[in-house]
Symmetry: C2
């Protein structure tokens, strides 16, 4: 019987751990890559497969309201990221959704040619913006600066500021409200990628006046591998944008089968193809665990877990160099350290039951998910890390082999 870690006393989220299927012998610090399976999801999946698909068949679109799942799930996510009602839909991948919002934003600023982003943005966002610029062939420029230079680079030639709020490598967090305000001051629009924000801490899209946002369903939202993503459009823009991806599910009357496209009202015009019912159901079910949770409570525990981890690692593992900001205010819910043999180190950690991940060339990342982690987990993770470092276990051949996917 283990004693309660002092920092876990009075944890208002302690009971939430039972809502997840944590594998035995694993301390999972990678919920920022793929969230843990919520315990009730298997039953929901079985139901949607065997009962809904299996028995209702085509009638499921009406009987189980499959057709409205993108809005239903979108609204549930919207609540977690400070969106207005009917401002979010869950659909497609984050990457596809980048294309939707960048194309929509550029069309709202026809006279301007610059998309500003930073080199801490997740590469797929940059690729999609560049791909769109090449496709349009109208001399748009994707301007990429360092994260710390973004504020000064917001100049009046910008059409769009496109940023990921929390840097996937370092955990550094941009000031969404301030940067959006600055973008608006020069007449630009702001797009926020919430991949490492949604479900991790309170986000206030509405209060920040964000124009567009996108995000991921399989990280802190625990929607399962490759879960549908989401897209947000501020209500003030919804009926002004003509989508670039003009699919039938974004048509005002999809089942009229008109030959001409007419966009649906509001956020629904961001929908494109037939909704992926099975994966949307997993995401919908996963969101249940957030129903009775205050995101502020998650944030407080996240900060505590991260601070404790940093303090312990710096105290006991001096070889590790902190990459993440020390100030919780400008940090998401992950902590990264630099270690020259980071790849092998992470392999050794995983082999010893501590799962984080590695980002080339030398960064090890640890995500902290307050719904299913405790300070005791953090303490045990640091025990393992310290042991691997003091024994130089990472130097074994088996941990140096190259893995295909990180």
């Amino acid at each position: 019987m283990s004693h309660l870690h002092p920092l876990d006393e009075n944890d208002p989220l302690a009971a939430k751990r039972d809502a997840f299927c944590l594998p035995n012998g694993v301390i999972y610090l990678d919920g920022n890559s793929l969230g843990v399976l919520p315990a009730h999801v298997p039953e929901r999946m079985q139901h949607v497969v065997e009962k809904q698909w299996g028995e209702s068949l085509i009638r499921g679109w009406n009987e189980h309201n499959w057709i409205d799942l993108p809005q239903k799930v979108g609204n549930r996510i919207g609540r977690l990221v400070g969106a207005e009602q009917e401002a979010v839909v869950a659909c497609d991948s984050t990457t596809i959704n980048v294309f939707k919002v960048v194309s929509a934003a550029l069309a709202l600023r026809p006279g301007r040619k610059v998309i500003l982003s930073d080199n801490g943005n997740f590469p797929t966002d940059l690729y999609m913006a560049q791909g769109l610029a090449d496709l349009l062939a109208k001399d748009h420029e994707l301007r990429i600066v360092s994260p710390e230079d973004v504020a000064d680079a917001i100049t009046d030639d910008l059409a769009v500021l496109m940023l990921t709020e929390v840097d996937y490598k370092t955990g550094r967090r941009h000031d969404m409200k301030a940067l959006t305000e600055k973008a608006h001051a020069v007449g630009a629009l702001a797009i926020w990628d919430l991949a490492h924000s949604a479900g991790a801490f309170p986000v206030d899209l509405s209060g920040s006046n964000a124009d567009f946002a996108i995000g991921c369903g399989y990280k802190y939202l625990n929607g399962g591998p490759g879960a549908p993503a989401f897209v947000y459009v501020a209500p003030r823009h919804q009926n002004d944008i003509r989508p670039a991806l003009t699919g039938w599910m974004g048509h005002v009357a999809p089942f009229a089968f008109d030959l001409d496209y007419r966009p649906a009202e509001g956020i629904n015009r961001m929908r494109v193809g037939t909704p992926p019912v099975l994966s949307l159901t997993a995401l919908d079910a996963a969101l249940d665990v957030f129903e009775d949770v205050d995101m502020e409570v998650i944030r407080q525990k996240s900060i505590s877990l991260c601070e404790y981890f940093i303090a312990q690692v710096e105290d006991r593992c001096p070889e590790m160099e902190l990459v993440s900001p020390r100030d919780a205010e400008v940090r998401g819910s992950q902590v990264s350290f630099r270690f020259a043999e980071g790849y092998a180190l992470m392999q050794a950690l995983i082999a010893n039951g501590v799962i984080g991940d590695f980002r080339a060339p030398d960064t090890v990342r640890f995500g902290f998910t307050p719904l299913y982690l405790s300070h005791a987990d953090v303490a045990r993770a640091v025990d393992v890390l310290e042991k691997i470092l003091t024994t130089r276990m990472w130097d074994m051949d088996e941990f140096r082999m190259r893995r295909k996917v990180t």
Copy 2:
């Protein structure tokens, strides 16, 4: 104990029926909208959710090869549609895939401005082509003619011929090989939507010299509601196209996290975002039922089911007017009839256990899926139809109410 219908004697596919979960009391003639649940899919889904996601977590990308699912599933579909190896990937929705192939094709014909299609194409294909043309703003024209006028409309100003092989309303089937040849003769490229072809009958993409194709995972392939779609690029084009949707999964080295996009070799550059593992697993499992089946055998039974249905309906239900081609050579695996009160008629059929669907203004559609239907089912369906017509059951108020989704 029912007697075997004479036409079901010696049915080489008879045993396949047990590979599907057919609801009791239902004759399902809508596999062209949503395929029936294959019996082994629930167990596979339970496995991917509980064991793979639940226990492997992030390690699943390597341990279970999630990352290669789009190619694996793509190759399995490719075998059914006459594609070369490594020429198909399963990803995104059919609608999104339309955008990929039309943009790629237009870029291969930069001097030409016309996309030719027909008014029997599924609307989302037309919407996406028009949306792309509007986005490019280079005076591309989406030219839409009647299906019977397509051949004559293939003129030397065409960039792209974009057709759905089988008309979703009428079941009319284009001659893929002849029209592709004609398109090539004028220097145009040919895109084929196989939504109502893949899994329904033998398709020969390679032998037809098709340039691009797309198709649907949830109709005859039985991948589940909103299953991932697929995209085909002829090997001769694969390394010449620069994708418009330049996502990280189509990057030559996705996990290098470069800031610049460089397309992957071959068909992989058609991938965009993180693969939807749960829904790809359902589709992958569903394809198992095709493993030991010759598509020619499916085709022969499909023709027999359709011919029998047409003959019986025309004999016993003279109110119904055949919309589909009478000649099996130019028909897919569905049969449509016109009936002025088609909507109410279909409601009455469904209420009496015969599920087909309705397409405005007056067409009732019946899909024939040889893997899980028998001639006895067809006979029973016509019994029900005849009874509804002779009793004017369709005229009851309860069948005239409007449904939201068809």
